[in-house]
Amino acid sequence: MRRFRAWLAVAALVATTSAVAAADLTIWWTKGTNPQEDDALKGVVALWEKQTGKTAEVSFYTTGDTEAKVVTALKAGSPPDLTFDFGYDLAYTPTWAYDGLLADMSDVLEPIADQFQKGPLQSAYLLNGKTNKRAYYAVPWVQMTPHVHYWKDLLEKAGYTEADVPKQWQPFFDFWCEKVQPALRAKGDRIYGVGQGSSTSSNDPFFNIHLALNAFGAQVVNPDGQLQISDPEVRKRVIAALDSYAKPILSKCSPPDAVNWNGVDDNVSFLNKKNVVVMNPTLSIPLSLQAKSPDVYRNEIRTVPWPDGPDGKPTPAMISVKQVLVFRDSPHIDNAKSFLKLLLQPENIGPMLKATGGRWMPVMPKLIEDPFYTQTDDPHRAAMVRQFTQVQNVPYPQAYNRLYAKVMQEQLWQKAIGRIVIDGWTTDKAVDELSERMKVLLGS
């Protein structure tokens, strides 16, 4: 049976597994949004090869594909030595740690634990259901939060200025839909107001929907890990948040293809000026223009704080700590640990993160204190830093209840939006279905 499963993996992953056999270290990494990101990782890999005299094979996959390949390879018993994807911390890490599938990274992290921020480090200190003990089953290396961007030139073309953009939640979104979009269309431009994805094939909507939930004060899992979506007050807030999220889609203010967008489609749509506003995790959108169109990067795209919640308070920043994983069945665990020790040295990870243009926020205070982040005149990076430092930071519900990872795996929130915008269900009915499934998944 094991042999057949291995064969299945070979059939599905011919190219990569041939590399597995040849290299001392196999890395499956999610492709960056610009070549510098990939080159930065390759630089650290080359340094590791030089220092150890061993060989490494790096394969880059698009977001989602990395997850799918790793999930399949795990099933086949042939995972890579080391891997990174945006969705691991939210959809898989807690479950894989609990199921005993991840390698213990304590000997990598404990010696340097004082170099990390407390929250990101805790996100990797997970329970193993087999041993009933906690240990570091992931290596935190960057953190991210969703951002809001808009085209300043399109706003001005519509006849408005930056001062006209409302600061409150619903007026903010209504402004783009009810004023900017009609004004642009009257000038003959087929442009949508808000690029808001809701598909089940991308993780971005999961981030954005949770940000909306937080703005409305809808905490579906409390810090004790209890599911409270059925609490009347929470339910009311959930419904209000989903109504708000679905409004641009239902009012044809969002591109119709957004319900089927893949991970990078929101970037592509916005960069092609098919919509004026977009919400997107990391600074990947502006950074993709930094080198080739510096003027556009600095003067035409804006990164702004999220509008205040309906209660008038600043919307909390939802922080997701991105992790690198090594599996119990990875063939070269020692090599993976040796690589991670090298990667996490400030003199390596610091320049590597700078090479990405500051797309991510570091998880080490020493790196955050770098003038690159604190004294920057870069409008987008400065906005990112403000988001991390000037508003309340809250984690995703997985931090309180590891079973919530299954909610992301099943993309329940996007499915609920689908019920509303595709099947025409009322939000109440969609939330009922969502609640029932969530209770099953979280066992409450």
């Binding site: 799918a68 087929r190 957004a258």
Partner: protein
């Protein structure tokens, strides 16, 4: 001298049982077996074993519960039904009608036929992806033209589930219609011309010639083709995956794409196999009928 089947059987059996001293297999038979071995090995490794393993996976009862409890499954069954019934029926009726045109003589017809077969001849991936871009509701050619000409956004061709399924069926027909049309053209060209001359002498019009001469002559080919295309359509992954990816929000999956989604997106091979097994109630009778029909044709 040639031996009858019975005599050959008797000769072989006496060689085996009477201890004639001759080897069990002749030199030629050993060579035949030697040349057969690679094929047999490949068959066992890549056909028999995977099928048996798939059947083994399908014995996981919990997989049936998982698949049936998935709200997408009922929708997927309905989509598969639409895809097969409308897709196959329309395609074969159109192929039958178009074959009347392509049997006509003339250079122009041959040129049109060469152009007509292009969608089938070009590789699947670029041709279907180009249609995907054309139908993209944000920046696709069709909706951009509609906006420029009439100031309207145009339908969400691929992201409205109904339009999405209609687009999938249309593309499937566009892609495979030429092949089946040419099969029927070939069958029609095999009908003796004398039959039409006799029919015309008897006063038969075009429709009567079709009803009493053409269709009876190609009925076997038509039915066999219909069954074959039904079987192939059940496994058509490309048309759906490349066009909509099963979206929006899994609303345009058929059994083929949903099975792959389970197996490779969620690494739930059991659920993937169970989903694909759902097609067996249609597939098995079709294969049986097809095999019997082919055997009957061979005997005739």
């Amino acid at each position: 001298m040639t031996l009858s089947g019975a005599a050959l059987l008797q000769a072989n059996s006496s060689r085996k049982w009477l201890g004639s001293g001759r080897p069990l297999l002749s030199f030629k038979e050993k060579w035949a077996l030697f040349f057969l071995m690679p094929f047999a090995t490949m068959f066992v490794a890549f056909v028999s074993y995977p099928i048996l393993y798939a059947l083994f996976l399908a014995t996981d009862r919990s997989a049936y519960t998982r698949v049936i409890a998935d709200p997408i499954y009922a929708r997927t069954l309905w989509n598969t039904f639409l895809f097969i019934v409308i897709g196959v029926m329309l395609k074969m009726l159109l192929a039958l009608g178009l074959s009347s045109f392509f049997v006509l003589p003339g250079r122009a017809i041959r040129i049109i036929a060469a152009l007509f077969i292009l969608p089938w001849a070009v590789p699947h991936i670029p041709s279907i992806l180009s249609i995907r871009w054309m139908l993209n509701s944000e920046w696709g050619m069709i909706n951009n033209l509609l906006f420029q000409m009439f100031g309207i956004d145009g339908p969400a061709w691929l992201t409205n589930p109904s339009f999405g399924m209609a687009s999938i069926i249309t593309v499937h027909i566009w892609k495979y219609l030429p092949f089946w049309t040419m099969i029927l053209v070939a069958a029609r060209l095999g009908i003796p011309k004398e039959l039409y001359e006799s029919a015309r002498i008897d006063g038969a019009g075009s429709m009567q010639q079709f009803r009493y001469v053409t269709f009876p002559a190609i009925a076997n080919v038509f039915l066999t083709s219909t069954m074959l295309t039904t079987i192939w359509s059940l496994g058509d992954f490309n048309s759906i995956y490349l066009l909509t990816g099963g979206g929006p929000m899994e609303r345009t999956n058929t059994l083929a794409t949903m099975g792959i989604r389970y197996a490779f997106r969620h690494a739930d091979f059991q659920a993937g196999i169970v989903t694909l097994m759902s097609a067996l109630p249609i597939l098995v009778p079709l294969v049986i009928v097809l095999t019997r029909r082919l055997r009957r044709n061979a005997d005739a």
